[in-house]
C-alpha cells in the first residue's frame, strides 16, 4: 500500500513532467505506472522503466527549425563578371584561383525532433544562388572585355548543393509535415569555365581561356528520408528544383541574350559538369 502510494506519486511526477512535452503521452503514462510500480520502483526498477515519454518529448508546433535560407548568394570566383550595370575590361590581367570555390551549399541533419505540426523544419531554401567560376560573364547589363586575361580555377566549383541527412534515431513522427526535410532550389545558376551572357550584354574574350581544373556541380540535392513518415506529409522529404541553369565548358556565341565573342579563348573543364539530374549517387555534397 505504501509502495503503491509511492508509485502513484512517481507516476504523478512523470505525468506532470510529461505535460510539458507531450500531453498525449502523459495521459497514457499515469494510470499504467500507478498500477504496476513495484516496491523497489524508486531504487531499482525505476531505472529500467522506458523513458520514452520523458526523453522523446515532441514539440507541438515547429516552424523553420534547423533550416537554412539563402537568398541572392552570389559568388564570382577567378573570373571577370558584370553583376550589375557596367563594364569590366581586363588586359593581361589573369584571374587565378588555386583552390575550390563553394557558394551557398548547405548541409543539414534531421536530428531535431519535429513537432506534431512541422512546417519547413530541416529544410534548405536557396533562391537565386549564382556562381561564376573561372569564367567571363555578363550577368546583368553590360560589357565584359578580356584581353590576354585567362580565368583559371584549379579546384572544384560547387554551387547551391544540398545534403539533408537522415536522423540517427527514429524519433516520433509528425502528424502534419509541410515542406519539412526538403531541399528547395530556385534559380540556381552556375557558369563554370565558360564565357557567357546571363543577361543583356556582350562578352569579348581574346586570348583569354577559361579553365576549371576540377568538377562543376550545381543545384545538386540529396535527401535522406526519415525512418517514419508523418501521418500527413505534404511536400516533405522532397528535392524541388525550379529553373536551375548550368553553363559549363561552353563557349557558344549564342547565349541567353546577347553575344559572346571568344577569340582564341578555349573553354575547358577537366572534371565533370554535374547538373541536378545527373548527380551520381556517391558524389559528396557536403560543403
Amino acid at each position: 500500500m505504501q509502495i503503491c502510494k509511492a508509485g502513484a506519486v512517481a507516476a504523478g511526477a512523470l505525468a506532470t513532467v510529461a505535460v510539458m512535452g507531450s500531453p498525449a503521452v502523459a495521459a497514457k503514462a499515469a494510470p499504467t505506472d500507478a498500477k504496476q510500480a513495484p516496491t523497489t520502483a524508486l531504487s531499482l526498477d525505476r531505472a529500467a522503466q522506458p523513458r520514452a515519454g520523458l526523453l522523446d518529448k515532441q514539440p507541438l508546433i515547429s516552424i523553420g527549425v534547423s533550416s537554412s535560407v539563402n537568398a541572392a548568394a552570389w559568388q564570382v570566383c577567378g573570373s571577370d563578371a558584370v553583376a550589375g550595370l557596367g563594364v569590366t575590361a581586363a588586359a593581361t590581367s589573369p584571374h587565378t584561383k588555386l583552390g575550390d570555390c563553394a557558394n551557398s551549399n548547405t548541409w543539414l541533419k534531421q536530428d531535431v525532433q519535429p513537432g506534431l505540426i512541422s512546417i519547413l523544419d530541416d529544410t534548405s531554401v536557396d533562391v537565386a544562388s549564382w556562381q561564376v567560376c573561372g569564367s567571363h560573364v555578363v550577368a546583368g547589363v553590360g560589357l565584359d572585355v578580356a584581353q590576354g586575361s585567362p580565368a583559371t580555377v584549379v579546384g572544384d566549383c560547387h554551387n547551391a548543393n544540398t545534403l539533408i541527412e537522415g536522423p540517427d534515431g527514429v524519433g516520433r513522427p509528425s502528424f502534419i509535415s509541410l515542406l519539412s526535410g526538403s531541399a528547395i532550389d530556385v534559380l540556381s545558376w552556375q557558369v563554370c569555365g565558360s564565357s557567357a551572357v546571363m543577361g543583356l550584354g556582350a562578352v569579348v574574350a581574346s586570348s583569354s581561356p577559361t579553365t576549371v581544373l576540377g568538377d562543376c556541380t550545381n543545384a545538386g540535392s540529396r535527401v535522406e528520408p526519415r525512418p517514419v513518415d508523418a501521418t500527413v506529409p505534404i511536400l516533405s522529404g522532397r528535392e524541388l528544383n525550379l529553373l536551375p541553369l548550368q553553363i559549363c565548358e561552353t563557349n557558344s556565341p549564342a547565349s541567353l541574350i546577347g553575344l559572346v565573342v571568344p577569340l582564341n579563348s578555349p573553354a575547358l573543364v577537366t572534371g565533370s559538369c554535374y547538373e541536378p539530374d545527373g548527380l551520381p549517387d556517391d558524389l559528396d555534397l557536403r560543403p
Binding site: Q2, T16, I61, W74, G86, T96, Q113, G115, G142
Partner: protein, 398 residues
Amino acid sequence: MQIKKAGVVAAGALATVAVMGAPAAAAQAPQADASAFTKSSALDMARGGWSNPWDRTPQGLLWVGTGSVANAAAWQICGSSAMAGVGLTIDSDPNTLIGHRGDAGCNNGNILIDDQEVPELIGALNDSAVSVATWQACGSAVAGGLGGTVALQAPSTVFGSCRNGNIIITGPEDGDHHDHHGDRNKKPYGHKRTESATIEETGAATRKAVSPAKVDTDKLRDALAAKHGKDKYKPHHNGDHKGDHKGDHKGDHDKYKPHRDATAEAPMVGEPKAADARNFGGNPWDVDPMSLLSVGDSSAVQVATWQLCAGTAVWGVGGVVQAGSPATVWGDCDNANVWIDQPEWPHSLISVLDYSSVNVAPWQVCGSDTVSGVGATISLTSPDTVFGSCNNANAVIK
C-alpha cells in the same frame, strides 16, 4: 507512513518544479509542507541518494536577445586600395598585410556564440547572431559608394586568410556525448580566450566547417568546447571530480544537462547507490528543461554580407582603374558561412526559426574583376590571384 509522507513531499517538490515550467500542470499537484521532508530520515532512503529534487536553478521566464550579437555596418579594408563613401582614391603604393601566426589575416564581423543556457520559458532571439552590412575588402581594389579608385603600380597583398561575416553557434552538447578520454585535455590553440583569439578561432573553425574535405565534427566540437573553458560543465569523463558533485549543487549547470549526460557520469564518491541509479538515467525528477515558446533562438541572420578578396570591384556607382597592380591573397577567403550546432533533444513546445540560418545577399568576389552596381573596372597587367579556397554562404546545421 513515513514513506507515504516522503512520497507526498516528493510530489510537492516536483510540483513546485513543474510550476515553473507548466502552470497548468501545477494546478493539479497536491499541496504539501516541504519542511516535513528535511526531518524525515526516510527521505534519503526513498531518494536512494539522489540529489534533492528542489535543488534546481529555475528556468527563466522571459528572455529576449540574451547572449546574442548584433553587428551593423562592420566594415574592414585590409591590404587594399579602396574608396568607401564619396570621393576618389589614387594609390601608387603597395598595400601589404602579413598575418600573424601564419594563418590569420584579415577578420571582420565574425561571430562565435556558445549556446549553453537553460532554455527559458519564453524566449526570442537568444544566443543569436544578427549581422547587417558586414563588408570586407581584402587584398583588393574597390570603389564602394560613389566615386573611383585608381591604383597604379600598387600591388595589394595579404599573407593570410580573409574572413568576413562568418557565424558559428555551438550548442551546449558540444562534445558531451563524445567520450574522448585522450582528447579532452588537448587544447589545439593553447591560449586563453581573448578577443583576437575568438575571431581567429571563428575563422579557423569556419574554414574547417566549410572545407570541402570531410569535416571531422567530433574534433571540431572538441576543439571549440575545449577552448572556451566549458570543461567544468562537461561530464567528467576523465575521472577528475574533485568534489564537483558533492554537497550543494547550487549554481552548477551540471544538473540541467540532458539525461544522456548523466549516463556518462562516473560514480560520485561516497554515493555508490546514487551512482548506480544515475547510471540508468538520473533522478526521476531531472527532466530536460524545455521552453514553451521560442522564436529565433540560436539562429543566424545576415543581410548584405559582402567580401572582396583579391579582386577588383565596383559596389555602388563609380569606377576602378588599375595598372600594374596585382591583387594577391595567400590564404582562404571565407564569407557569410554559418555553422550551427543543434541539440538532439526538443528545444521548445512551440519552436519557430530556432537553430536556423537566414542569409540575404551574401556576395563574394574572389580573385575576380566585377561590377556590382553601376560603373566600370579597368585592369591592365593586374592579375588577381588567390592561393586558397573561396567559400561563400555555405551553411552547416547539424
